[in-house]
Symmetry: C2
Subunit: 197 residues, 2 copies
């Protein structure tokens, strides 16, 4: 049971209200719980983004089979897929750390205003980058099938296809986390705080 002395975490940001203390405190507790659930949802989505983009990068970086067959780094589009996926994996790892920090300590890594805008802008830019890379990768993979590169080296093409497909899955989760962080930006602008759903 919570003690009556527990401070109201959002009290400083709310306008003074004529509500009795108990009701205000109850609402504050509900708000903190909702915020915690929202942070856990963000953490799950970030973790999915990390897994898919890391898998996409690994599949592409390891896509070379001896000196006679084609290598991933001979194709611009595949280089773009590998590097974009690696950048998104690193970014997601950082954001997972930031999310765990926020859930465990109740405070953001950067100041709150920097954090919400940092998350949203990077989500947007990296989502565009990953989509662009994987679209280019898809176009190249289809062309390689048409010009008979894949008849001789089918394993190379299959591994490229898997990498691009994993990249698209990563993009879906990154787009979803961009929606969530956009929602946090709106909450911040509305209330001057990332709390308050």
């Amino acid at each position: 049971m919570r003690s009556a002395q527990e401070p109201n975490r959002n009290g400083g940001l709310m306008t003074p209200s004529p509500r009795p203390r108990n009701q205000s405190q109850f609402q504050s507790t509900v708000s903190v719980q909702k915020n915690r659930r929202f942070n856990i949802l963000i953490l799950v989505v970030r973790f999915a983004t990390f897994c898919f983009s890391l898998a996409s990068a690994i599949f592409m970086f390891t896509n070379s089979r001896g000196s006679g067959s084609p290598q991933w780094y001979h194709f611009d589009a595949f280089r773009f897929v590998a590097i974009a996926a690696a950048i998104v994996a690193l970014y997601s790892l950082f954001e997972i750390g930031a999310s765990v920090w926020e859930i465990s300590r109740g405070a953001t890594v950067f100041p709150e205003v920097v954090q919400v805008w940092f998350d949203f802008s990077h989500d947007q830019v990296f989502a565009y980058m990953l989509l662009s890379a994987d679209s280019a990768g898809t176009a190249l993979a289809r062309t390689l099938r048409e010009i008979d590169t894949c008849t001789a080296n089918n394993a190379f093409c299959v591994q490229s296809d898997i990498s691009v497909a994993l990249g698209f899955a990563g993009f879906m989760f990154l787009g979803f986390s961009s929606l969530l962080s956009g929602f946090r930006v709106v909450c911040f602008i509305l209330n001057g705080s990332r709390f308050h759903m």
Copy 2:
């Protein structure tokens, strides 16, 4: 000179303030002027998007030279470029109409809440679509150069390159108008009105 009887257009949406009537009316006039300037900026950006995406679609749709040479519709990525650019051109034309309507009549085509969300969501989705199409087009155009399709049919490749480049320019303006319509959504959530800068 404005008469004292002119109604305060945003009065119903503002919290009652102890300011004298003249000051409130002056601020309302400033707000309406700012809103008008913002709408004109949106109109200019929409017009630029329309011009570039229409040019991109025309350059791709007319990219065929007799029966012996390659046609744009033989390549998936070029079909995607042409159709995405055409869809964005049609959407931009509709949005130009909506913008002119709003500037001339002072009201949105759909109810305000529908209009701001419609604009923002479609800007986002179509920006992703156009970027994806043009990335795929770039990858295909680069591959065609490597497999000597362009040695025999240089004009075909040059026209494809121009179409893709125009599509990227259209994407830049569409991304910018997505920012502006996102700002209008935030304004709407904040104030219950697309006014109030």
